[in-house]
């Protein structure tokens, strides 16, 4: 028998591939031996990703970072049965170990950049659930291809007989979807590959857009354009939407291509082509196109501000006339070109002053939508933007102008929906990734920011469900992190739906300080600050003991009781005039909330209930509170709140039907005699029809 020549074998199999393959084998065996759950993701797709990383980085192994990731994944995975967090950390570490190979591949450029995301492709294509507008885009794609129309009401059933598509709230008339058809047309080739096929084309679009963003960063003066592309694609918020059937990455690609074209031979032609494509993709992106056109015009000889303004107005008029008379108004007029819509837009935006003021803060630090928790690398974009502006390159100017106009458009158009929930956080900002990545890479992204961004990205990719929040005041990851803690961790973190000024200000200050320290390369001080923030958060969470947000109550604390509204989607609650938190309905016989009570110093405890009562009858609903032998019945009469003036103006005085969402919060304070520990039981007195009863928001129990 011939003995294999080890040296020849080593020459045949590149070291990097062998090391990654060994990592894949280790992770698969570890998962098998540990008996861990998630056979598809942890048992198959993540080891497969390591194997694929060997293909994209055949000559360099996972390195020290990869080895550290393996150690942490094994150490955390050892405890998978005792904590959901340990299992999530283990899977995230397995995924984080892939990033060095992917970043290295992206930096090599060309086809290597295109294949850099290959390790993550199976994870993206097969593990992320369809949400938001993705089914509508898929239905529209199928409708264009199979039916030759844009009426989606009879689609998707041709692939899945149980599927049905309801026309969206924003759909103007039957046959014209809220979505523009251009992006759906891009998805058509994916139809041949079934449901995963809808993701293949968006993934290719994301890769292409990130590559263009990298090129664009180089053209704008960045010293590390390749890293810009890698950061845009592999880190959040871009990674959370890469390969998902949303038009945002396509818009980012067109912006980057337009900005590159503006630095080329025919800048105006490139800008106009990009602007038309962006408007055809989705009207939300039209300001990006306007920015590109302005940049191209401003760059022409002899074009002062006045001439540029006149040219922009003339071009806009031509575009609107072309839409009206050549396309029958299908792009703009049928959707937004009517007095009612423009009146709504005007009245809502000018009346949303407080929302607009809070927007920049919550866009940074809100636990569900804030970018800093998920994408700390973006902090490097702040000083980078200034440097980009000073560089005065055509591409840089195009990115800055288009970005500024898009942000302004976002504020005017979506002052209350900018967070894009329930789709992944930061989706509406992906079109700005060429700008953000160019700015962040201008002077390089500090390593600690890169490491934190990799960890966040790896967590979202390894546990795909974490990227979906519902504007209910509790982020999916922090929910897992806080399990088992005394108190409610979500209340110790900023939330725009449950705003607490002190908490928000403290975390905003923390992030600003941390960013300044890291950008100033004061890593030691930043580490001390971050290490102190962890116990501060724990202490803040512990201080919420005795405070129960009704919608967060686990089944241990409630019997029956349904959440109101039943749907998690934020639009159902967005128009509520008061708090838009979800409520816990106590309306059926048997519904009860059961809360532990510790005896107070004075022999009694104070219970504050924030709730709403709603019935169609004359008598208000009655809440029964019991603690041992003590009991109290309270009628809960919550008058309907007057609607905001702007809604009255838009609806011309027509009031919407009364509902629990429009009712005013009512405070009931109970002094409960309490000599020993026990449970407080809250239940409705009798049962009420669906949609009526007691709607509990918050309970606070304090010793007196």
């Amino acid at each position: 028998m011939r003995i294999p020549d080890i040296a020849a074998l080593r020459r045949m199999i590149p070291g990097g591939f062998a090391a990654h393959a060994a990592g894949a084998v280790f992770l698969f065996l570890f998962w098998r031996i540990a008996g861990m759950p998630d056979p598809g993701l942890a048992g198959r797709l993540i080891p497969l990703a390591w194997l694929l990383a060997g293909f994209v980085s055949p000559h360099a192994g996972p390195g020290r970072a990869g080895a550290a990731a393996l150690v942490v994944s094994a150490a955390a995975g050892f405890f998978w049965a005792t904590s959901d967090l340990a299992a999530a950390v283990s899977m995230a570490s397995m995924t984080a170990g892939l990033f060095p190979a992917m970043i290295r591949s992206f930096r090599r450029g060309g086809r290597h950049a295109a294949s850099a995301v290959l390790p993550l492709a199976p994870l993206i294509l097969l593990s992320v659930p369809f949400t938001g507008d993705e089914p509508l885009n898929a239905a529209l794609c199928e409708s264009i291809f199979l039916d030759g129309d844009t009426d989606v009401s009879d689609n998707l059933r041709q692939i899945d007989r149980w599927a049905s598509v309801s026309p969206e709230a924003g759909a103007p008339v039957a046959g014209i979807s809220h979505q523009q058809p251009l992006f759906s047309l891009l998805l058509v080739p994916g139809l041949w590959f079934g449901i995963p096929g809808y993701r293949i084309l968006p993934l290719i679009v994301s890769i292409l857009a990130a590559w263009l963003a990298g090129r664009c960063a180089g053209a704008a003066g960045s010293k590390d354009g390749a890293m810009a592309g890698a950061a845009a694609l592999l880190f959040l918020p871009g990674a959370a939407c890469a390969g998902l059937a949303y038009a945002d990455w396509a818009a980012a690609g067109i912006v980057a291509a337009g900005a590159l074209g503006i630095g080329g031979r025919r800048p105006l032609l490139a800008a106009l082509a990009a602007a038309l494509a962006l408007a055809a993709l989705k009207l939300r992106f039209a300001p990006l196109g306007a920015g590109l056109v302005i940049a191209a015009l401003a760059g022409r000889r002899g074009m002062g501000p006045a001439r540029t303004a006149i040219a922009v107005i003339a071009l806009t008029a031509v575009a609107l006339a072309a839409d009206r008379y050549l396309l029958g108004g299908r792009v703009f007029w049928v959707r937004y070109g009517n007095v009612e819509f423009l009146s709504t837009l005007w009245n809502r935006t000018v009346s949303s002053g407080s929302d607009l003021l809070r927007l920049p803060v919550f866009a940074m630090v809100d636990q569900e939508a804030g970018l800093l928790w998920r994408a700390p690398w973006l902090t490097a974009a702040v000083p980078g933007t200034v440097a980009l502006a000073r560089a005065k390159t055509p591409a840089g100017r195009a990115l800055l102008l288009s970005g500024a106009l898009y942000l302004a458009g976002l504020v005017v158009w979506t002052p209350m929906e900018w967070h894009s929930m329930p789709t992944p956080a930061g989706r509406f900002f992906i079109a700005l990734m060429p700008l953000a990545a160019s700015a962040a890479s201008f002077r390089g992204i500090p390593r600690p920011l890169l490491a934190l961004s990799i960890l966040a990205s790896a967590m979202y990719i390894a546990v795909p469900g974490l990227r979906f929040n519902h504007l209910d005041g509790c982020d999916a990851f922090f929910d897992i992190l806080g399990r088992g803690l005394p108190g409610n961790l979500c209340l110790a973190l900023p939330s725009m739906v449950r705003p607490a000024a002190t908490v928000t200000a403290a975390w905003f200050a923390f992030w600003v300080l941390l960013s300044i320290l890291l950008l100033a390369r004061r890593n030691g001080a930043a580490l001390v600050l971050a290490a102190l923030a962890v116990p501060a958060a724990a202490a803040l969470a512990a201080s919420t003991r005795g405070v129960y947000e009704a919608e967060d109550l686990s089944p241990d604390y409630r019997i029956g009781c349904s959440l109101y509204p039943l749907s998690q989607d934020p639009p159902e609650r967005m128009a509520w005039p008061g708090s838009s938190e979800r409520l816990l309905r106590l309306g059926e016989a048997g519904d009860a909330v059961v809360l532990p009570v510790e005896p107070g110093d004075g022999g009694s405890v104070r219970v504050e209930l924030v709730l709403r009562g709603f019935t169609s009858g004359a008598e208000p609903p009655v809440l029964a509170a019991r603690f041992g032998d003590w009991s109290r019945l309270s009628g809960v009469a919550s008058p309907q709140q007057p609607l905001p003036d702007w809604i009255g103006r838009v609806r011309e005085g027509e009031a919407p039907p009364p509902s629990p969402g429009n009712a005013r919060d009512t405070l009931i304070v109970l002094e409960v005699p309490c000599a020993g520990a026990g449970v407080l039981i809250l239940s409705p007195q009798g049962s009420y029809p669906p949609g009526e009863g007691i709607f509990l928001d918050r309970v606070r129990i304090t010793g007196t």
Binding site: F26, L29, F30, R32, I33, A34, G35, M36, P37, P39, G43, R64, A65, A67, A68, L70, V71, V72, A74, A75, A76, G77, F78, F79, W80, A81, T82, S83, D84, A86, A87, V89, R447, P448, A451, G484, L485, N523, L527, A530, A531, L532, V534, P535, A537, A538, A539, A542, S554, P555, D556, R558, I559, G560, S562, E588, A589, G590, D591, A592
Partner: protein, 263 residues
Amino acid sequence: MSRRADIATILRCAAWGLGAAALHMAAGGRPWAAASLLLAASGAASIKGDGIARAACLLLISAGASFPQAAGWVTAAAAFLGIACGTGFMTRALLALSIPPAFQGSASTAVAVASSAAVLSAFSDSRRARTLAILAGVVLAMLVEGPPRPGPEAELVIQETMNGPDISWETFHVDGSKPVALLRTPGMEGGTADLVLEAGGVRDSMPVGLVFASEGVHSIPPGRSAFELPLDGGFVEVRLARRYRPFEHPVIHVLEAHARADS
């Protein structure tokens, strides 16, 4: 290294160590865990040349100090990482010494095996050898006794939805991390529960779990099964009956669960 730099390192290690221990005690932690954190933080603060590894270790230790419930495994994870990445012997020795007290009172054979491998690996100067030894130790620990099991608080109460005399439950599953699920039937004196389950992840045809209702106990075989169970009030319990065995991932998916009261 100069004497001044040595003193600065010692002071930095002492500050981190004492800070972590004091924080843990203030958060209601145990003295042994505080001692473990003191050693681990001192060791982690002395890691040189790998700022990311040092930061990761210290942040893990900070989390362990702040959350006493998770202090054991978080400190161990930090120690394992620090031993793998740490260059100096003193660094690795401090981190290795932090592992035994982290599990004081909750030690098991598996923890002992994993910890021993990590402690022995600290003697090696080769980073690759240390990494391999730690990974091998964890795998061996799994083979010896399996992963640490969840405590009794892991019992899962499934949220019910009451619709007049009928009760339904959302889909759920039980596995090694949540081996028991309770389905309550509030207000139901007598009735029938219908369950559709799918069990698997095992390599034989023995029962994967048990379902308890009223006085009856029924075994759940691998594959899909349906149960119609009489109820006399109380609750239905779905329990995983398999203990840990390597290469098995026992799980019971409860696909449908309804109860209706006797008319």
